[in-house]
Symmetry: C2
Subunit: 492 residues, 2 copies
């Protein structure tokens, strides 16, 4: 039973890949840059979807579905937008194949040149343009506003260097697209969604978040403001975990999305868009997992506890299985997501299997446990073993779900905070970035300072955190005035 996971200290990047392989979370496909999300990985995405979808609906949003294909001319309507995405677009040029039979019976498949599209179509890298082409038809009056629509979909962005979950040619996401009467409403929407993202990530994914606006350089192509939620990964890099954009009237003007306001005047709508992706699965892996493999926060785990029945003699099996079933029913009734592993494998192999899949709790029951009406509860997060009265099993496991969830957040927060430093000089800055820290430094707001830092150190401004207080200071390069510190880091 080889431990086939490279330790983090040895090679973080290999460790990440190994954790994914050992947990059977995802895999590269034969299509360059495209991943297959395997059932264990996909179950995390399903939980993310369920939880976020309920939060969106509680705040008045509804789901809809817009086409996968976008005519290339639509991209030309918003100049910044097309510049931002032109290099990454998969383009459909034909709508048929032809076949040639070879002498050996095999079939060659070729593009059918007689079936060329008049206008090529892009596979959506994001849907602002196609959605605005519809909103322009739907919106006539202020009575039609706000439109609060979300879409769960796949998108495609051609990537040269790919990494499972973090950067793939195709990924899954949700994209919200809203339209409002006033600039204030759009700004409030963009910020409210950011807060929903942050709450979800902290409370459910157990990942501490810095949230705030991006710099001008880093904002979404076509937006007037981008807000981001940023997480700290175990290697010291930042991961942008979601963004919420105030689009202003840019797309509305490009597509003519106008409404008659209460005063009877024609006005362009004010819009937002916002999204999170399957990248969140990568974040969960990188923040919580250890050298044994995946560790999942209980709230996002498809299986929160697994019961492993153990017997020495075949005669013991029926009793033990009955005991397992009793525990299973108690936990299920208490709302715990629980499984019994009845596979014909050795216990050690079962332990290993569930450890690598990140299941938060393992419940071992053997003949002696049965005698004493006890069981062993092992916590995945730290390997601690609790000896539990079966009559209290539901209360104990429910309490552990809460406790483990909180402990995981606290642990991740402690790690992030210990690795977040304030610096005053560019020398200190460079050393801190070299050592993979999150760096809070003064910045004069100029694209020049930002560009120089990126060129020198690869660090970028992750966001201008809301939680960092105003504190007058001097830019670490230009020496010009700065109202408060911003967050720099190397990022995925």
């Amino acid at each position: 039973m080889a431990r086939n996971i490279t330790p983090r200290s040895e090679d973080y990047s290999r460790w990440y890949t190994d954790v994914i392989a050992a947990g059977e979370l995802a895999e590269h496909s034969d299509v360059r840059g495209c991943m297959v999300i395997r059932p264990t990985g996909y179950s995390i995405w399903e939980r993310i979807q369920q939880d976020l979808d309920a939060r969106f609906k509680d705040t008045g949003h509804v789901n809809a579905y817009f086409p996968l294909y976008v005519p290339i001319s639509f991209f030309g309507k918003e100049a910044q937008h097309v510049e931002g995405f032109a290099m990454e677009c998969a383009v459909v040029t034909h709508y048929g194949l032809k076949t040639q039979k070879n002498d050996d019976g095999s079939v060659n498949v070729l593009v059918d040149d007689t079936k060329q599209l008049e206008e090529p179509l892009v596979v959506r890298p994001t849907s602002e343009t196609i959605i605005n082409s519809m909103y322009a038809k739907w919106v006539q009056s202020w009575r039609d506003l706000p439109i609060l629509i979300n879409q769960w979909a796949n998108v495609s962005r051609w990537e040269m260097r790919t990494r499972l979950f973090l950067r793939t040619t195709e990924f899954l996401w949700q994209e919200g697209h809203t339209a409002h009467e006033t600039a204030d409403e759009a700004e409030n929407e963009a910020r409210m969604i950011l807060q929903i993202y942050k709450n979800f990530m902290q409370d459910v994914l157990a990942i501490p978040i810095y949230d705030g606006p991006k710099s001008e350089t880093e904002k979404f192509p076509g937006a007037i403001a981008t807000y981001a939620v940023e997480g700290y990964m175990q290697d010291g890099k930042a991961l942008q975990m979601g963004t919420s954009h105030n689009l202003g009237q840019n797309f509305a003007k490009a597509f003519g999305t106008q409404f008659q306001n209460k005063a009877g005047e024609l006005e362009y709508v004010h819009q937002t868009s916002w999204g999170v992706t399957t990248r969140l699965i990568g974040a969960v892996i990188m923040v919580h997992s250890d050298d044994e493999g995946l560790v999942l926060p209980p709230k996002i785990a498809d299986t929160q506890a697994v019961i492993v029945p153990i017997w020495k003699k075949d005669a013991q099996k029926p009793e033990i299985m009955e005991y397992a079933d009793e525990i299973f029913m108690k936990l299920k009734e208490a709302g715990v997501r629980v499984k019994v592993d009845i596979r014909d494998e050795r216990p050690a192999q079962k332990f290993f299997h569930w450890e690598q899949r990140g299941v938060p709790m393992r419940i071992e029951i053997g003949p002696r446990d049965l005698e004493n009406r006890k069981c062993v509860l092992k916590r995945r997060i730290d390997g601690e073993k609790l000896f539990v009265e079966v009559d209290n099993i539901a209360e104990t496991v429910s309490a552990q779900i809460e406790s483990i969830q909180t402990e995981m957040f606290e642990l991740a927060k402690k790690r992030r905070d210990e690795n977040t430093v304030k610096v005053e000089t560019y020398e200190e800055f460079k050393e801190a970035i070299e050592n993979n820290k999150f760096v809070l430094a003064h910045w004069d707001g100029s694209a020049e300072t930002e560009a120089q830092i990126k060129a020198d150190t690869k660090a970028t401004i992750r966001c201008i955190p809301f939680e960092i207080e105003e504190e007058p200071g001097k830019d670490i390069i230009s020496g010009k005035d700065s109202p408060k510190r911003v967050l720099f880091a190397k990022a995925y």
Copy 2:
């Protein structure tokens, strides 16, 4: 308040389009053949997903996600399969755009010829090939079987003539792909899934179903057997509402998906695939709706009851709203999906709005109702008005949910059965098809008879229904022996 729906008797096809437009269910986009599914329509799909997903999981299936893109060479591996889909494939040939600025500041967007793919990619019309390329890696031993995976995804099939929900260039679906040790297991899986589909469609969509195998001519390209569920639409046409295929070892052989069996020998896996699509929304519309618009079965309705508060003087409003809230809470606690329409519109407009969206029950409350602690409950299905004591409102509405659901199924079944006829001669057959009937006729099992009937009448064999009993007879054209009647109809 124009009734903007063409009556069925006048023009069925226009009626269908009008119901969709009036209910704001879906709309054509600017991309040829691609639809936008609007929130009201999408909410039906969400309920379909939730219900079916639970049924799949209860029978041991898990979800996963495979790439959107399929290398064209993969299609060549299974000869029948590629012939079946070659004409419908959207093909990605490039992975970048370039832009040209015009003098007037506008931007032209062009395909970047320097970024051509070495091997073109097809946007999946279905995923047997890409999935087998993975299963071939995952399966080594009988211990790796069965694989019971489902995927919720979009697919693309280029269509010359499109129709909202029924036939679109892109649509949403689920596709199950399973792999088994034995031929029997695969056959049982294909049939079990068909039964799940049938139960769901009858119990939740309230649509009576004929289920059974397809003829050789009509089966899926690459399958050894296809089973289908067929519904009767109000215009007498059949709609194929789902299919379940026994793929045998065809794809396994094409991709080398082999395992070591219990005897230690290498063997190809036995596979199935099965799917239903957003076409089901079209079925719900066509089976249940009337000349006033959409009618939804309560189990699939996102809103089962809508409360419309009515007041004459502004002074009455607070009391009425409080009363509406009381009813709302009573229904919500009873698990009813209920809304209060508090919009600033006239009652008649609100009535019209919810009627066209198919909401099964409307609850009107005015000042006199408040006085008497009563309300008016109007059933969408037949316009019947019940005068209900508010203290019993939860029981009444819950009972109506069950009753309306059953009545809708019975009504649809009565309509179908009254329009299903047995014929003995080809003359009778042609007359029945001309009159838009479902026809049960004897068939000798030959592709020749089938082809002639299709050429003469456009009718096809929808399925060889399981529920039709053996009954020796003679083929209506050839006069040859036939063991039992099969179902013919014109189809969408």
